[in-house]
């Protein structure tokens, strides 16, 4: 354990082989970081288990016959008092019994519990059901549980309809039980109507290529490629520059905070591991285009190496750009106004002595949040710059300079950074807070002479004479790479311009495009520790795909009824994922076909198809219309 009593485990590895630490046990952190780190740790743990990769384990089950007239069973969940405390479950069960095609209805204390699942299986078997309606909580969290149970007994999982009477009823209409009861009844009626129209769907399979492509040879790419290659997956790491290491490589970075380990040392260690891992490294090589889908991507490589590379998964580790201050703070005007990156390069050359235009500055001012927390450029926090500025300030302070740091808020969330902050203060580094919405002014004639800032506490302007101004620049989406891969892979980009993860907590390294994962600052600003953890997480997630021999395809996608298709191409035109394409089936006659592996099942094409030729499976017109009809048909009839 470290001095704070928290496990000391950079990137999850503890001091004992085979024991890993993750989450808040390493240090306080938010859920997305916890999840990314947990995945990273899992990847590391896998390295000890090479040869025991994830295997798909399934016992064949006999499929139940679900054909014929709908025989619907309904389970109404009490969810303890969560639902039963507001709604009258007996009334709902009784009400459901009278609905068309319903042959069985029962209450369940906790439908998702083991007992509840057993009751469900019993209900299906006893009444020979071919449709199931579960009135309980939200399908977003619990549908997978019920689907799994049903799959185990051979009941097609797409014949389940969940009715949300907890999250969207009992929990939010607690004070209006009469209205809530009426709402629950209607929702059940609608659910039954939809269930009558459900169709069994079957997951398709396509073979999985077991290799991976890592794009970008910075620390994130190196880490991800190493982790995957060590597990035995063929990995190609593509870097468009002539050397690996990105910002860690010379001449960009001298020391890593908080331990002041030389960047070169860390990079060398990482590169050694990469080499040992057997990953193939292609320098001066770019990715021109990518087609395909999870398990079967095809990347067109250009540059020093030109080839068509087939891979099963892709890790995007293209990194980030640093903000260019241009005219701001006299950056383009004064030779002694430099960026934190430029200072770092100077430190790489000589970390005992800093010279600007031949003279040694005796004082230095740091301006934080340049290009970050700025609605005009990047409204978010770049995360790395506070600790970096403090690290640099300590180094300059040790050279004997007077240091002032102009900051908005000091954010030292990474392990050891707060301690470093305290150390800087102890060394006499002066911290001055820039008021909200304000900016510091750098003034001088031919070089910067002072930094001026209003101090909220003192209620007056402060003017700090200075020989050197260091602008702590934030991160920016890497261009043109971000736009390019957004275009060719259809990976979403968030409002901040960085690649957007699938979900901050549920999928911090995944993207909406299956098989494409994010590592490092391509996804948003982060420091090296977080980058490494996230890269390992991306590798772990990629290995989950790659370990399979086949990719199962979501069957709830869109499908073209070719007889109805007019070949107008509207679907092909609007689909962001290039799933539909026109095929000439006889001279002059075109029909659309949808590649089920590319289709995400959003159903937008269905709503645009003029002739009704596209069916959004599991969300068909019939199913939706049945719900609307049921909503307004108050009388129940068998």
């Amino acid at each position: 354990m470290g001095p704070e009593g928290i496990a000391e485990a950079p990137a999850g590895e503890s001091t004992r082989d085979g024991i890993f630490v993750c989450g808040s046990a390493v240090g306080p952190q938010i859920i997305p970081d916890c999840v990314a780190q947990a995945s990273a740790v899992a990847a590391r743990a896998q390295l000890f288990l090479t040869g025991h990769r994830v295997e798909k384990h399934e016992e064949p089950v006999e499929l139940l016959d679900v054909t014929g007239k709908p025989r619907i069973g309904i389970l109404v969940c009490h969810c303890g008092i969560n639902i039963a405390g507001v709604l009258d479950i007996d009334d709902l069960v009784q009400y459901a019994t009278a609905l068309p095609d319903v042959v069985a209805a029962a209450g369940s204390t906790f439908a998702c519990s083991t007992t509840g699942q057993d009751e469900l299986v019993e209900l299906i078997r006893e009444h020979n059901l071919n449709r199931l309606v579960i009135a309980a909580c939200t399908p977003r969290t619990h549908e997978p549980i019920f689907r799994e149970t049903c799959t185990h007994i051979g009941f097609n999982p797409y014949l389940i309809e969940m009715v949300n009477i907890r999250d969207q009823c009992s929990w939010v209409h607690t004070g209006q039980p009469v209205e809530a009861q009426e709402k629950a009844r209607t929702l059940i009626r609608m659910g039954v109507a939809r269930a009558r129209q459900l169709e069994p769907l079957f997951e398709g399979e396509v073979p999985m290529m077991h290799s991976a492509l890592v794009i970008g040879g910075g620390i994130a790419g190196i880490q991800a490629a190493t982790d995957l290659a060590v597990q035995g997956f063929p990995v190609t790491l593509v870097e468009k520059e002539g050397q690996l290491g990105g910002r860690l490589a010379k001449p960009h970075l001298k020391y890593l905070y908080p331990n002041m380990r030389p960047a070169t040392e860390v990079l060398e260690a990482k590169l050694k591991l990469l080499e040992e891992s057997g990953a193939r490294v292609l320098l001066n090589t770019d990715v021109e285009s990518i087609t395909g889908y999870v398990g079967n991507f095809e990347a067109n490589l250009t540059g020093e190496t030109e080839e068509l590379l087939q891979v099963g998964a892709i890790i995007l580790a293209v990194g980030a750009d640093l903000y260019d201050p241009e005219e701001e703070y006299g950056y383009s005007k004064f030779p002694n106004v430099i960026t934190s990156q430029e200072l770092e390069t100077m430190l790489v050359e000589d970390d005992k002595n800093v010279e600007i235009a031949g003279s040694r500055p005796r004082s230095a001012s740091f301006v934080l949040c340049v290009g970050s927390r700025d609605p005009e450029h990047f409204p978010g926090c770049s995360r790395y710059c506070c600790p970096t500025a403090i690290k640099q300030a300590i180094l300059l302070r040790r050279m004997g300079m007077d240091i002032t740091i102009f900051y908005r808020d000091i954010r030292t969330i990474s392990t050891g950074a707060e301690e470093m902050y305290r150390e800087a203060r102890g060394l006499g580094v002066l911290f001055i807070r820039i008021p909200e919405g304000d900016k510091v002014q750098v003034s001088g004639t031919d070089h910067a002479e002072s930094v001026r800032c209003f101090d909220d506490l003192l209620g007056r302007h402060l003017e700090v004479p200075t020989d050197l101004v260091v602008l702590s620049v934030g991160m920016q989406p890497k261009q043109p790479e971000t736009s390019k891969f957004h275009d060719i892979l259809k990976v979403s980009v968030g409002l901040d311009g960085f690649f957007m993860e699938l979900h901050p907590e549920l999928g911090p390294v995944e993207t909406p495009v299956e098989g494409v994962l994010l590592a490092g600052t391509a996804q948003g600003p982060k420091d090296i520790v977080d980058t490494v953890a996230q890269a390992s997480a991306a590798a772990a997630k990629a290995s989950i795909f790659l370990a399979h021999d086949t990719v199962s395809l979501n069957p709830a996608v869109s499908e073209v009824i070719e007889e109805k298709c007019r070949g107008c191409g509207t679907c092909a035109e609007i689909c962001e994922f290039h799933a539909p394409a026109l095929v000439e089936i006889e001279p002059g006659t075109f029909v659309a076909r949808i590649n089920a592996s590319l289709c995400k099942g959003c159903g937008t094409c269905t709503s645009w198809c003029p002739s009704g030729a596209i069916v959004s499976k599991h969300f068909t017109d019939r199913q939706v219309h049945a719900m609307i009809d049921a909503l307004f048909t108050t009388e129940t009839s068998k």
Partner: protein, 386 residues
């Protein structure tokens, strides 16, 4: 196979003279759908109706695949009224809960049913421009607009404005000294619902519309849309309580008044003419549009090889059958139109324009099949001497 005939089917078959079929197969040989490979055999349908096997007839996809273009009946030596058969069988199917899978997600059917319910005050006439003289309640001539304002709202990306024809018709009427009644209370004629099998909603619309026109005191009802015209002329007849007004297509009205229309010289145009099925084969109106085209200065009509009685349908009526085969028929028809060397394809039904415009959106064929379209009324209105 069960052969017990339910009374309804026997009655329907009887009315349509299905019994007269002697199985020659000319219907299937001429059927435009069958010709492009669609699974529709009118002969089989007639036979099934005669056998009276309800389930077999009404759940058969072919029932809704038929364009009801009437081409088969025009060739039938036994005089089987095939459209009549389909119309009534569809009502039976609808009654049994079998409905066509509607294109556009059924949006247009919903629109029609909302009008059938009535109760709302439609914003139906906001397209009227100041230069158009109309009255809203009473008058000698009632001009039936049809639902072009809805089509233009629903198909904004088709680059056609079917309302142009509606406005043009009023402009021509005005020129003839007629200030027609154009009613904000007009509702969908119910043609499509009727042909989808939804008789109940059709009747609601029929009653309302007949009453509306009756209460206007109009002696003449002028209609632009070929489908509305067929509906008024044939399907609305039982709903009149007083003697019906004279119901005329806009081309018939214009033809009758040709002497009073003065035209200016035009840039010379060769046009070809698409006979809407409802106007042509259903109602026998082939000549008036041709007479008008003839009367327009500098307009030459280049007929398509299949025209008049032999004309081919735009393959999209009733918003219920829109598919690969319909598209095939449209593409063939547009090629045929282009082969005449015409600069414009002229028609007199907004639906023809919509369905051809949709076909022309083809990303692979558009140059081969693209031809500008005009409604005959706009052609006339534009040619009016100042």
């Amino acid at each position: 196979m069960k052969t017990t005939s339910t009374p309804e089917i026997a009655e329907i078959a009887d009315k349509a003279r299905a019994w007269a079929c002697y199985d020659c197969g000319k219907c299937t040989a001429t059927c435009p759908i069958a010709r492009v490979g669609g699974a529709l055999s009118p002969r089989r349908q007639v036979l099934a109706a005669n056998l009276g096997h309800r389930e077999d007839i009404i759940t058969n996809n072919a029932l809704f695949a038929c364009l009801t273009c009437g081409l088969c009946s025009s060739r039938c030596p036994a005089g089987v009224v095939y459209c009549e058969l389909v119309l009534n069988l569809r009502q039976l199917a609808f009654h049994d809960g079998v409905e066509p899978e509607c294109p556009h997600g059924g949006a247009l059917q919903s629109m029609m049913r909302m009008m059938a319910k009535g109760k709302t005050k439609q914003d139906r006439l906001s397209w009227l421009t100041k230069d158009l003289k109309v009255q809203h309640k009473k008058g000698d001539v009632f001009y039936w607009t049809g639902c072009t304002m809805y089509y233009d709202a629903f198909f904004p990306d088709f680059n056609i404005t079917t309302l142009d024809a509606t406005r043009a018709a009023i402009r021509v009427l005005n020129r003839l000294g007629v200030t027609p009644v154009v009613s904000p209370d007009e509702r969908c004629c119910g043609h499509d619902l009727l042909w989808n099998g939804d008789r109940a909603n059709f009747e609601l619309l029929a009653r309302h519309n007949v009453k509306l026109v009756e209460s206007s005191g109009a002696k003449t009802l002028v209609i632009s849309c070929a489908e509305c015209l067929r509906t008024w002329n044939i399907d609305y007849q039982p709903f009149f309580e007083t003697s019906p007004p004279k119901i005329m297509h806009i081309t018939e009205f214009m033809q009758e008044n040709l002497d009073n229309l003065k035209f200016k010289a035009n840039k010379e145009h060769t046009v070809t003419y698409q006979d809407p099925c409802r106007l042509g084969r259903h109602l026998g109106i082939f000549d008036p549009p041709r007479a008008i085209l003839e009367a327009l200065p500098d307009i030459t009509l280049a007929e398509m090889p299949r025209s008049g009685k032999n004309s081919i349908c735009c393959a999209g009526g009733t918003w219920s059958n829109c598919d690969r085969y319909a598209k095939h028929i449209q593409v063939d028809r547009l090629r045929e139109a282009k082969s005449t060397g015409a600069e414009f394809l002229v028609t007199s039904c907004p639906k023809c324009q919509i369905h051809f415009a949709c076909a022309m959106k083809d990303p692979n064929l558009h140059e081969e099949i693209e031809i500008p379209m005009r409604d005959i009324a706009t052609l006339v209105a534009d040619a009016l001497a100042d």
